[in-house]
């Protein structure tokens, strides 16, 4: 069943089936109705035959009676009127069709009731003329005549006495009475019509059709080719006439403009005088039964069709349901396959974590190496260390997110909005990415446009993750000598308290094929062509990026062209920090001229706008030589530039050369600031020799420019330089820590590290030992507990909970720091949930550890709980 309906066009099949049934049905119906019709016809014809027989029989009987009566009367010796009357009285009631009269020789008519009338006053007058007494009249059966205008059949029988006609017996039959005498009305509900035709001349002797007027002539009628006269089924009109003449029997189905529909007519010889008798019945009457049968058939047929249709609909629905469930099963199978494939891809991905991790890792390694080669430059080393720290933190958080894929996919990404400066974002990018850019010999530009609100609330970690992903992809897919650029533009139209930012990351790399570009944001997609498949990737980076952007409520789109490059455009809205930091103007520079020299118009545009905000008259040039000329001109016109902001990477002259020449023109006091996207420490010495006062990173933000200018002019408003971290050893001498760690080697390492920094360290090998030691200690004995998390018997969380449950509040509130190899969000949450104050990640990082410990001890000492 299913298969039959699976084929296309099962609707056609259904229709075909219905048609076949209908055809069969019609055929059956036609056959049956034909046979019924035949039967009805037969019945009618038999009925009429019977009728005709009956009538002729009656005639014949009556005529025999008449004959016999004449015999009897003539057997008397003399014609006896009295006796004749007696005989007539006896005979009259025996006659079924006739009325009898006796014509007497004295022209008087004797009726059976005994009255005698003169022939002239009776309706025998014509008869008398026809058969005068005295003449031998042959026995003429059934001649036509009329009595009072109505057709009658007449039968004459002479009474012969002594060879002479003594009287005439006259039997008269009113033709009109015929049909009722044979009960024809009863048979056909008074709708039957009887015709008697004299075939000699075609005259109608009897025509009982209701609307017919005078008696017509059938031969005349036939000659007159009436166009409204039609026949069907049986004989044609002409055939009927021909048959009439031959005294035949047959049926004619006809209609005329006089008839009400078709008439079924059956004709046969009347058996009398070459007369033909016909009976016609309206079709409706004749075949009333047939019509009933027809209607029944119609009803049954319709019901059958409906039944068949319903049947097929039901079957079709079932088939459809079966198909639907088959389709459903197929869909589920497909889903299962997809899920399995996704699972496999995830496993592969997890074991191939690569690029996203290696990028900041490389930064860490390269800055560490740099620090090594610059050990005697404390300031530089401190700066490198700061960069290493930021990269490391970034790396750790990145690992969290990348390993925690399933959380991102199920939409539980946590976006923590914290205060952040846009310049910090740029700094982070620069720190992490610039070595790679240089290593691959790529030109790297960072720019801002119209950024008036630099201080926002955002999840810097995730914003960095997104930008880093895009930048590292750009690096990956751009060959040496190409360029990568990042532009942050603040756009108008953000709601109050928010800023709209558009970030564009563009490269001149190999681009993507249109097919791949369609699926760029779907996980695990990798381009299949020889160039790209050689390039490492995780397949997840763009999916994570998009998820993060989506979660932040932003949009990301991509434009790419193979062979030309790719550009990503991200639109985000960030909440603005309410306070403007300080006024933008710098008093000392108010009204002074400033010159910006950079081969990027964007930069010239941004920086001149910023200088204007600071209160200067700002101009710009995109060429080094021109800048020098203008500087000279300005000096000659006694309106010299008081600030120069020069791009280090000027193509024609080089920023440093321009600085040198300009310094010669401008003198000692004028601040000359070099702008660069890269690390200026590389050329710092050379730059200072050329006369450069200060450096600024690209992209430059108003706050950065301000700070640099203030420092450069030696203003008291300049921000303080970064102070080195205070030496922790002095503060911490003598503080006792409890180190809880099950592995001996790790314990020893921890012990050494902490002792070196001035702590007294006691050890516990287990969680339960630690709890005991704390319980039995004096409050304030231990300043802090370092608790390893993964321990047998009692792990760190349990031990912490136990300590927090101690009766003595001072003991219960001892700061506890978790040492955990995992730094997942949920582990952090769990640590906090069981009462830990903070956590450090393993392997032990002394600086971080000291930070945390110092902070916690300090906080604890401020709180009144501690009894000293």
């Amino acid at each position: 069943m299913k298969k039959r309906f699976r084929r296309e066009g099962n609707l056609t099949a259904t229709i075909a089936m219905i048609c076949a049934v209908v055809v069969l049905f019609l055929a059956a119906y036609l056959l049956i109705s034909d046979s019924i019709r035949e039967r009805a016809f037969r019945r009618m014809e038999e009925g009429i035959d019977t009728v005709i027989e009956e009538v002729t029989a009656k005639f014949k009987r009556d005529s025999r009676i008449l004959n016999a009566t004449a015999e009897i009367i003539s057997q008397a010796d003399n014609f006896d009127q009295e006796a004749t009357l007696e005989i007539m009285k006896t005979v009259s009631p025996l006659l079924e069709t006739m009325k009898v009269r006796v014509l007497l020789p004295n022209d008087q008519v004797l009726t059976p009731d005994g009255s005698v009338t003169d022939v002239s006053e009776s309706n025998f007058i014509s008869f008398a003329k026809e058969a005068p007494l005295g003449e031998h009249v042959s026995n003429r059966e059934y001649s036509m005549g009329s009595s009072a205008g109505k057709p009658v059949l007449r039968h004459f029988v002479p009474v012969i006495q002594d060879g002479e006609t003594a009287a005439m017996l006259y039997g008269m039959t009113m033709l009109e009475d015929l049909p009722s005498s044979i009960n024809i009305d009863n048979i056909y509900n008074a709708t039957a019509s009887v015709y008697i035709i004299d075939t000699h001349n075609g005259d109608f002797i009897l025509d009982t059709y209701p609307t017919h007027g005078e008696l017509g002539n059938v031969y005349d009628y036939a000659m007159d080719k009436d166009p409204d006269r039609k026949t069907k089924g049986g004989l044609t009109w002409d055939e009927y006439i021909a048959d009439l003449i031959n005294m035949g029997t047959g049926r004619v189905i006809y209609r005329t403009d006089q008839t009400d529909g078709w008439e079924y007519m059956y004709y046969a010889p009347a058996g009398i005088n070459q007369w033909s008798i016909a009976v016609s019945v309206p079709e409706k009457e004749a075949f009333a039964n047939v019509f009933i049968v027809q209607r029944i058939f119609l009803l049954i047929g319709t019901l059958m069709i409906i039944a068949v249709a319903i049947y097929y609909i039901i079957v079709h629905r079932q088939a459809k349901k079966a198909m639907d469930s088959a389709v459903e099963r197929a869909v589920l199978e497909e889903k299962l396959k997809k899920a399995e494939a996704a699972e496999r891809a995830k496993t592969t991905f997890l074991s191939n974590m690569s690029h996203d991790i290696r990028t900041p890792m490389n930064a860490i390694i390269s800055f560490t190496t740099l620090a090594e080669t610059n050990l005697d430059n404390r300031a530089r080393v401190q700066e490198y260390l700061a960069k290493i720290l930021s990269s490391s933190n970034h790396l750790l958080s990145l690992i969290n997110d990348v390993l925690d894929m399933s959380r991102i996919e199920s939409g539980k990404l946590h976006i923590e909005e914290k205060p952040c400066a846009i310049s910090d974002i740029f700094k982070d990018m620069r720190n992490i990415i610039q070595t790679q850019m240089q290593a691959k010999q790529l030109n790297f530009f960072m720019d801002t446009l119209d950024v008036t609100d630099e201080d926002i609330y955002c999840d810097k970690l995730h914003v960095n993750q997104v930008l880093l992903n895009l930048l590292s992809n750009a690096i990956k897919f751009t060959p040496a000598g190409g360029s990568v650029s990042m532009l942050i533009q603040q756009k108008p139209g953000a709601p109050k308290g928010y800023g709209s930012y558009e970030i564009r990351v563009k490269d001149t790399g190999i681009g993507m094929s249109p097919e791949f570009a369609e699926h760029i944001f779907e996980p695990f997609e990798r381009e299949r062509n020889s160039t790209v498949s050689g390039i490492q990737g995780t397949g997840l980076g763009m999916a994570i990026t998009k998820s993060i952007v989506d979660t932040m409520g932003g949009t990301i789109e991509m434009h790419t062209e193979q062979g030309k490059g790719t550009e990503f455009i991200i639109n985000l809205q960030f909440r603005l920090q309410s306070e403007r930091r300080h006024t933008e103007e710098i008093r000392e520079l108010f009204g002074m001229r400033g010159l910006v020299v950079d081969d990027s118009f964007n930069t010239c545009d941004s920086v001149t706008k910023m200088l204007t905000q600071i209160g200067m008259r700002a101009e710009w040039s995109m060429h080094g030589r021109e800048a020098v000329l203008r500087a000279r001109q300005a000096a000659e016109m006694n309106d010299p530039f008081y600030t120069y902001i020069i791009d280090w990477a000027l193509p024609d002259l080089g920023g440093l050369e321009v600085a040198r020449q300009v310094r010669a023109i401008a003198g000692e006091n004028v601040p000359i600031i070099i702008l660069t996207a890269y690390d200026w420490t590389v050329f710092e010495d050379e730059a200072r020799e050329a006369g450069v006062t200060a450096f600024c990173n690209k992209p430059i933000l108003l706050s950065d420019l301000r700070d640099t200018l203030l420092t450069a002019i030696g203003s008291p408003e300049a921000p303080p330089t970064v102070k080195p971290r205070p030496n922790p050893t002095e503060e911490l001498k003598g503080k006792r820590l409890l180190l809880v760690e099950d592995n001996e080697l790790n314990r020893e390492i921890g012990q050494e590290l902490l002792s070196e920094n001035g702590f007294i360290v006691e050890e516990a090998v287990d969680g339960s030992v630690a709890v005991d030691m704390v319980r039995q200690s004096e409050p304030g004995y231990y300043a802090l507990i370092l608790m390893d998390v993964q321990m047998p018997r009692m792990n760190g969380y349990e031990a912490t909970r136990a300590i927090r449950a101690l009766d003595n509040p001072a003991l219960a509130h001892i700061p506890i720091v978790a040492m955990t190899a995992n730094a997942f969000e949920e582990d952090k949450q769990q640590a906090l949930a069981c009462g830990m104050d903070d956590h450090v990640a393993k392997p032990i990082n002394v600086d971080r550890l000291l930070q945390v410990v110092v902070a916690l001890i300090a906080k604890n000492e401020d709180s009144p709980d501690v009894k000293k």
């Binding site: 560490t368 080697l745 790790n746 020893e748 390492i749 050494e752 070196e756 190899a821 002394v846």
Partner: protein
């Protein structure tokens, strides 16, 4: 053999550990002590006896020690094994254990060599 050379031979990161612990004397002391650390033996025994829970903790501890000492290569393989055992036995664990054995052998040999030269 210098301590740095020993580290290079082990596929370990000398600069890294020095950066954290600051003192070469300390690093040397702990490197030598590593040979006495029981987590590796515990790991092998528990893998053999099918005590997956203990195996997990042992490889986790071994990983922690390696991280502390900057033993990059051994740390990586013990990290992989730890992750494989995190949910109980995993079919990849056996292969990963072999890696750990190999890396541990290299590490241990280098330290032995270093120690031998010290004595001399």
């Amino acid at each position: 053999m210098t301590l740095r050379e020993c580290y290079d031979a082990m596929g370990a990161n000398y600069d890294e550990v020095l950066g954290r612990l600051h003192s070469e004397r300390l690093v040397q002391k702990f490197v030598l002590k590593f040979l006495d650390d029981g987590s590796y033996n515990q790991l092998c025994d528990s893998m053999a006896s099918g005590d997956w829970d203990l195996a997990f903790r042992a490889s986790h501890t071994l990983k922690g020690v390696c991280q502390n000492l900057g033993f990059t290569r051994l740390g990586e393989s013990s990290h992989d094994l730890t992750e494989a055992l995190r949910g109980g036995y995993h079919q990849e664990a056996d292969g990963l254990l072999e890696r750990v054995r190999a890396d541990y052998a290299v590490t241990s040999d280098a330290i032995h060599a270093f120690r031998a030269e010290l004595g001399a």
